[in-house]
Amino acid sequence: MTNTLSRLLKSRDWLLADGATGTNLFNMGLSSGEPPEMWNVEHPDRIAKLYGFAVEAGSDLFLTNSFGGNAARLKLHNAQGRVRELNRIAAEIGRNVADKAGRPVAVCGSVGPTGEIFAPMGTLTHELAVEIFHEQAEGLKEGGADVLWVETISAPEEYKAAAEAARLAGMDWCGTMSFDTAGRTMMGVTSAQMSALVEKLPNPPLAFGANCGVGAADLMRTLMGFVATGTERPLIAKGNAGIPKYHDGHIHYDGTPELMGDYACLARDAGATIIGGCCGTMPVHLKAMHEALSTRPRGPRPSLEEITAKLGAFSSASDGTGDDDGAGRERRGRRRG
């Protein structure tokens, strides 16, 4: 199996991914509430421009505008019948941009969460989730995506379902989870647990890691958690450009381009191979990250203290791994039975 991303991973020791999709599209006039995937059809020029931001900033790969392009999310806009089309076009536009880049750039088909909760509490079953992801994967494949890029997942069941969908579609894939709750995902998964989960899959991803979450510092701690498990698999770090702040009716992310440059090098030194941004990461940030990665020499693996000194404090005291991986208290269990 060869694809641009696999080849890049073989020949390079770091790759720059892309930045924010939503933040950039809102700046181009997307109104909130509108599903961004519609723009693949309505404003293909703007989507090409979005992809172009990453390519111009020096990214080696970018994610397609298809994050919410699964039937469960599109249903909220009564567009569940357009999954195949919207994903195919998202990838086609990307293919065009990548092929004109004059250097290898991988088109990664973004697959976001379904937004549903698994049974027994919710209604989602493994079979249903696989079906939802598979439909999306076929559209992305048809449009020419190099790999699937599963992101912002919080439930292990959903990660497994996406892996199976990639297998059914015959595609290589990458997959990241979002660690936003005291260093764990919303569903309680730690970095160490994700590492273990990945290796148990029949078709493990080309690379795995973390995206979004809280700020760049928290994401670094999660990355260090993956490294500590001794994984040999390439790691992905796609952190937000700081934390959103509210000022006089406007929201901005407080991460400066300089900070994101520092973060990119720290992530590389900590052991990440694929490094990018997430929410709030604009072209100016990406350029600073590219510049930093290209010019600064590799350093030793940073300590947690160095990370907080450069990127700011963690949002929680622990991330559920290491010496305090046991929950604060054992579940009491049933007294009867």
Binding site: S32, M121, Y246, G249, R329, R331, R332, R334, R335
Partner: protein, 232 residues
Amino acid sequence: MADEDDIILSELDDEELVQQMHDDLYDGLKEEIEEAVNILIARGWTPYDVLTKALVAGMTVVGNDFRDGILFVPEVLLAANAMKGGMAILKPLLAETGAPRMGKMVIGTVKGDIHDIGKNLVAMMMEGAGFEVVDIGINNPVENYLEALDREGADILGMSALLTTTMPYMKVVIDTMKEKGIRDNYIVLVGGAPLNEEFGKAIGADAYCRDAAVTVEMAKAMVARKHNQMGA
């Protein structure tokens, strides 16, 4: 499932049974909770006492452990589900006996925002704590909130946003409530990943709630304060 050392719920005295219910809620055992609720009612407990002393008190432990990072969403959802089983039995009885209500919440994601998982979690936890919850879904313009608050005779308005671009809309809703002179009739709670306390204050909400457990605590405290004010 009758193991020899099985605990027979009906053989426990009241205090032990309530303690067992707290454990069973913690472990998300719905059938056991339903059985125990029926036992307490048969023993002559008022539905309100079953709700507050057995169920709500048990869910408080769950909420605290969620807040402290000991339990995570899947366990909390199971506990809320067990609670809901008990509530289904109590609800008609509570209405019959004219027991005081915990309070009613209208909850929805604001206009422009289609993310609903956080809101759904809050709705489940609030129901788990004994509140009545009317979920008006995603992408709600101000009219939807006002109409639902009025129609439902709600006590609490809950607004959720996951996007930095949509969170300012919460202020539009609160400002409209002020214009109509109804702002102070409701407790307004806001939440969502990009929000913080400072933002909640800036837009005039009663509180920013960091997570579903905090929402429940805030709602309980504020409803109690409101009742006290009305009694004064």
